[in-house]
């Protein structure tokens, strides 16, 4: 019995070390990635770096202004927000608050499937149904991020809602008042989850190469093309050389920073909503 105990302890220790090793691999690889991108970017002089603030992206003429690309990424992401909120939030409310167990598990399965759709499929679907424009790009991002958004928000609501609903029903309030109460209780979590979803949208490339039009535009129109940071990498990395190649690594770095900031902000909001509840 004693030996068995020692064996278990030793085994536990080994597993502990192993899990620590694998656990640290992830942050280490992120650091390695950032270092690699920074190292690739050092090929640029200070003058080149200031050129990145330019308004024109024409690599064949050595004009590497990143502003239109940032505009494309941010505008397509934010254009998707009304869709995500308008359609995603009611779905999440239904799933998290009103649906019974059977319906909820069916919905969760459907949302899980949608969340797992490869983005090429979504890209081709949107291209076929809506053509090429900023609007299509927003629709593609909406389709990509909404299922996960609905799942996260409904989970959040499930944690908070029961007590609120109990109290509200006890006061004899109707559905609309219940919804208002539940949302106001979880508002920062709902918005935080939206930012996390938006961060994922900023990182999307494949679907957008099909539907965004990929023309660098400074002032996008709803029915005109845009070009995002990620699609630029996808379209140009293969043939880029020298300075252009280095600039694309700066673009990659920028995408990472943009996503990390958005998601960090979102997580902060979510954590605030949780501490608020308890």
């Amino acid at each position: 019995m004693y030996r068995l105990n020692r064996l278990t302890k030793a085994l536990t220790r080994i597993l502990e070390l192993a899990s620590m090793f694998f656990g640290t691999m992830v942050p280490l690889s992120v650091i390695a990635l950032v270092t690699y991108l920074l190292w690739r970017s050092t090929a640029l002089s200070l003058q080149d770096l200031s050129g990145l603030l330019g308004l024109v992206w024409t690599p064949t003429e050595a004009k590497y202004g990143l502003v239109p690309l940032v505009v494309g990424t941010v505008s397509s992401g934010f254009a998707a927000v009304p869709l995500v909120l308008g359609l995603g939030l009611p779905a999440a409310l239904y799933m998290g608050v009103f649906a019974d167990r059977g319906k909820r598990s069916v919905l969760r399965m459907v949302m899980g499937t949608l969340a797992g759709l490869p983005s090429v499929v979504i890209g081709l679907f949107v291209l076929g149904s809506l053509g090429i424009s900023l609007l299509s790009a927003a629709l593609a991002i909406f389709m990509l991020v909404t299922p996960q958004y609905v799942l996260s928000v409904s989970g959040l609501l499930q944690q908070t809602a029961p007590t609120v609903v109990l109290a509200a029903r006890a006061l004899g309030l109707g559905d609309l008042a219940v919804i208002r109460l539940v949302i106001s209780e979880t508002l920062s979590g709902v918005l935080g989850t939206l930012l996390v979803a938006l961060g994922r949208g900023f990182g999307e490339a494949v679907a957008l190469t099909f539907v965004a039009g990929n023309v660098a535009t400074l002032i996008p129109e709803w029915l005109g093309p845009i070009r995002t940071l990620t699609t630029t990498i996808a379209l140009e990395l293969d043939f880029a050389a020298d300075k252009h190649y280095a600039v694309l690594h700066v673009v990659a770095l920028l995408v990472m920073v943009l996503i990390a900031t958005t998601i960090a902000l979102g997580r902060w909001l979510i954590s605030r909503s949780k501490s608020h509840d308890s």
Binding site: T60, E61, L124, R169, A170, G213, N214, G224, F239
Partner: protein
């Protein structure tokens, strides 16, 4: 009475939620040991997997030989087919074909990342000094619209006006009052270089509505929007039309866009497809690939893929 009603509603709404929470609680790991059991299984499985993968990889490198071709996406159908035939005759050979644009093909060749580069445009003088080029086939670049467009032919001047934005509506050409959606290819692609050269402009002078990455994407884009116009390899158009994609190729300067017209030299935007290598003497499998493509059998494969073979040299 009222009280009972409220009570009832409460239960109805909240009981599934409570049950759910209870279920989740019941499923939670109750002890640390269980977590480690899980991690343990995970680690064992993955180390076993890694071991198997390593072993098979070792087997690969000791017995198999490989030929790596990167570059233009245009000749990929030819190269894939030729690779299949060569692999079936030499079981130890693996041919990797990776499309990514002509410029990448040349750069990879110069940097030694491949055995052969594929190029779908003429080489620049600077490129000619650094790599050795071997012509393998001829191809036409054709103008494509949606199948529903009533346009049947264009002159070079009209094409120029469309691509320079002087004609931006189909009205003057077909009578249909619809804005033209101009499709261009991303920089670095041979098709773009050949097309721009034909119009006598720089690729960056064209202000498109859509920039597409490869030939397939151009075709998908045009099939999806009724008012678009683009340019793409004739072979890709023939293949796409065969499977029912709603696009069509347009006559240019009164010449029909057919393989026969590319072969006899009357089609105005034709190009030679090349394989390039770092030196004139090349790796034996690369040599075998070039010889195969120049043989009678290779010519049939090239024709089958809707390109024009060069006459066999011997």
């Amino acid at each position: 009475m009222n009280d009972i009603n409220v009570d009832h509603t409460e239960n109805h709404i909240s009981s599934p939620v409570i049950e759910c929470v209870q279920l989740a609680n019941a499923r939670k790991w109750t002890s640390v040991t269980q977590i480690y059991q899980f991690i343990g299984k995970f680690c064992l499985f993955h180390s076993a997997l890694a071991l198997v993968l390593n072993l098979s990889a070792c087997g690969d490198s000791s017995q198999r030989e490989q030929l790596v071709i990167t570059g233009a996406s245009t000749p990929v159908p030819i190269l894939m087919h030729a690779a299949d035939v060569m692999e079936s005759r030499n079981p130890n050979l693996r041919v990797h074909v990776q499309p990514g644009g002509s410029s990448k093909g040349i750069r990879d060749t110069i940097e030694g990342h491949n055995d052969l580069g594929a190029v779908a445009r003429e080489l620049s003088p600077a490129e000619r000094e650094q790599v050795h080029s071997i012509p393998i086939a001829r191809d036409g670049v054709v103008i494509v619209t949606h199948a529903s467009n009533s346009l049947t032919s264009l002159t070079k001047n009209e094409l120029f006006a469309i691509y320079m934005g002087e004609i931006d509506n189909w009205r003057t050409l077909t009578g249909a009052d619809r804005a033209i959606t101009l499709v261009h290819k991303a920089a670095g692609h041979g098709t773009r270089a050949v097309f721009s050269q034909y119009l006598g402009v720089k690729g960056s002078q064209i202000k498109p509505h859509v920039v597409a990455g490869n030939n397939t994407q151009v075709i998908k884009t045009i099939a999806a929007s009724a008012n678009s116009v683009g340019y793409v390899s004739l072979a890709d158009v023939i293949a796409a039309v065969e499977i029912g994609t709603p696009i069509k190729a347009i006559e240019l300067e009164g010449v029909a866009p057919t393989l026969a017209n590319v072969a006899n030299g009357s089609w105005p935007i034709a190009r030679t497809l090349y394989l390039v290598s770092k030196q004139a003497t090349i790796q034996s499998w690369a040599e075998a690939m070039v010889e195969f493509l120049r043989s009678e059998e290779g010519s049939r494969i090239i024709e089958g893929a809707n390109y024009v073979p060069l006459k066999p040299t011997h």
